[in-house]
């Protein structure tokens, strides 16, 4: 039995949990399970505690954030100097995807709503994945394009509904 427990110790259950989690996210859900290890290798991880400011509106974005646990709130600066919460990002969701396409100023401020564990995907790591594993790169690029398109449609609907006039 001790022999078997030795082999059980060799396997890191944490890695399986991470790949299972990534499989559930919208951006990586079409990637075959065995290939998710390449994605996992390209990601960095970090813990944030409540009230930490991850980035501020106007700062240059360089990474996509995927929330594994906890919650992150996104705020928009208001003309009167205050800020308004426009969305909350929950486990399995992600934000900051524009940083993977172009290094432009962030459009919101991200503040940790409750203790959070996130995965970060940097543009340079994604570029390597695109060139070294094109089959994975095509899937991620397509998903990214669809997600950005969906968010743009949502924004247009939001503006057309007149809510912007009242909220901003």
């Amino acid at each position: 039995m001790k022999f078997l427990s030795f082999f059980k110790n060799i396997i890191d259950e944490d890695v399986k949990k991470k790949t299972d989690f990534l499989r559930e996210t919208k951006i990586f859900d079409k990637i075959p399970g065995r290939k998710l290890v390449h994605v996992l290798g390209a990601l960095r991880e970090r813990d944030y505690v409540k009230d930490e400011v991850i980035f501020s509106e106007g700062e240059i974005g360089r990474a996509l954030f995927i929330v594994q646990s906890g919650r992150i709130d996104l705020y928009k600066n208001m003309p009167d100097g205050g800020r308004k919460k426009i969305a909350s990002v929950n486990p399995g969701e992600f934000f900051g995807e524009m940083a993977l396409l172009e290094e432009r100023p962030r459009t919101t401020t991200a503040i940790v709503g409750e203790d959070t564990h996130v995965f970060l995907l940097f543009k340079i790591k994604l570029d390597i994945l695109l060139y070294s594993k094109p089959d994975i790169g095509v899937i991620i690029s397509t998903r990214l394009a669809k997600i950005i398109s969906a968010r743009l449609r949502g924004m247009i609907d939001y503006l057309e509904s007149g809510e912007r006039k009242n909220d901003f």
Binding site: N9, I10, I11, D12, V15, K16, V37, H38, L40, G41, R44, E45, R46, D47, Y48, D51, E52, V53, I54, F55, S56, E59, I60, G61, R62, A63, E102, E103, R104, I111, V112, L120, F122, I124, K125, I128, Y131, L152, R153, I156
Partner: protein, 359 residues
């Protein structure tokens, strides 16, 4: 919000600055003991992608590192056994033929000397001066070789230190990253990722290239029937880790062996042509594939880096000069990029005309 309110105060940087100063002071006073740790860190960095390959597939880090060390140890023993047996023939032959080689070189030297002093009489005046300078260098060579023997202890020390760096390094990096101010994490990780990508590509490229040089040199020199082909190929492969040195060392050493063995200039020409072909093959076929994602360094910059490395830290300065240049070049590019993006020195153009609506 608390973190935002405190972010503007300079007092928060006092303690980190103090720790940095103490750390740098410790580095300065222990600089003579640092070399094995720097080499171990470089060794661990090269091994890390292999360790990550298995950890990303669900194996625990410590077991992966232990397994790699055990496999490497067994492989080294096996290869050592095969190589010693294989090379021992060459060493025995080399030892047996050495007096004849020395005699041949002496005759060659004397005839060359007579010819040169006959044509250029002023060289005869310089001869005692040259001898005066060369003889001490030649007599110092055995001392220099003996002086490098303590470095052999590195062979045991470096894998030992690297093991613990590989095992504990990940946890230290994670701890550090989790304690960087949240707002700075993105830029710090961005810089680290950029350096990691360019340096990793360069080192992997260099190792692959050195191994290919060894294989090609061994095959070619064996085909030419040159003695000590394996020994020469090993020297060429190792010196191939330093840009341009592999081909240079190869052509010089192999030409001497060829001339002494065959006694004709044609054999030397063959060796020179062979190394020209290797250089051509390396520049036109190997490097575009091996180094395609590495940092591109201008040959003049490489030569300058090698010379500066030699001036700063001798042999190890040469070994580390190119990786350090890679890091410096990447840092320079990132600095320019940050100036352009953060401070809008050079705003990037829009990829499309914004007036066209989303359709």
């Amino acid at each position: 919000m608390i973190s935002e309110h405190r972010s503007g105060k300079y007092s928060q940087y006092v303690l980190p600055a103090l720790v940095l100063v103490v750390f740098l002071y410790l580095v300065v006073i222990t600089r003579h003991s640092l070399l094995p740790f720097i080499i171990s860190a470089a060794f661990a960095y090269i091994l890390n992608p292999l360790v990550n390959y298995f950890t990303e597939r669900g194996f625990r880090r410590i077991y992966v590192i232990s397994a790699i060390y055990i496999v490497a140890f067994v492989l080294i023993l096996l290869l050592g056994y095969v190589f010693v047996n294989f090379l021992s023939d060459q060493f025995v032959a080399f030892h047996k033929n050495w007096p004849a080689y020395v005699e041949k070189l002496k005759v060659l030297g004397q005839s060359l000397n007579a010819k040169l002093t006959g044509r250029f009489p002023f060289l005869a005046q310089l001869q005692p001066e040259i001898q005066q300078k060369i003889v001490p260098v030649m007599t110092a060579v055995p001392q220099y070789v003996l002086g490098t023997l303590p470095a052999l202890s590195f062979l045991f020390l470096i894998p030992f230190i690297s093991f613990f760096m590989l095992a504990g390094g990940g946890a230290i990096v994670t701890f550090t990253l989790n304690h960087i101010p949240a707002g700075k994490t993105e830029i710090v990780l961005h810089i680290l990722a950029r350096i990691d990508v360019s340096l990793g590509n360069y080192l992997r490229g260099m190792l692959t290239e050195a191994f290919m040089l060894f294989v090609i040199a061994f095959t070619g020199l064996s085909a030419m029937g040159l003695n000590y082909a394996a020994v020469l190929a090993i020297i060429i492969g190792i010196s191939g880790l330093v840009p341009y040195l592999g081909a240079f060392v190869g052509v010089v050493v192999a030409s001497i062996v060829a001339y002494v063995q065959f006694g004709t200039l044609m054999s030397v020409m063959k060796v020179v042509l062979f190394f020209c072909a290797i250089r051509f093959f390396d520049d036109w076929f190997m490097q575009p594939y091996i180094m395609k994602r590495a940092v591109e360094l201008n040959p003049a910059l490489i030569v300058f880096a090698l010379m500066a490395g030699w001036e700063v830290a001798g042999f190890w300065g040469i070994v580390f000069s190119i990786p350090v240049t890679c890091i410096l070049k990447e840092l320079l590019l990132i600095s320019i990029e940050i100036q352009e993006t953060e401070f809008l020195w050079k705003p990037k153009p829009q990829p499309t005309r914004m007036s066209i609506p989303y359709t």
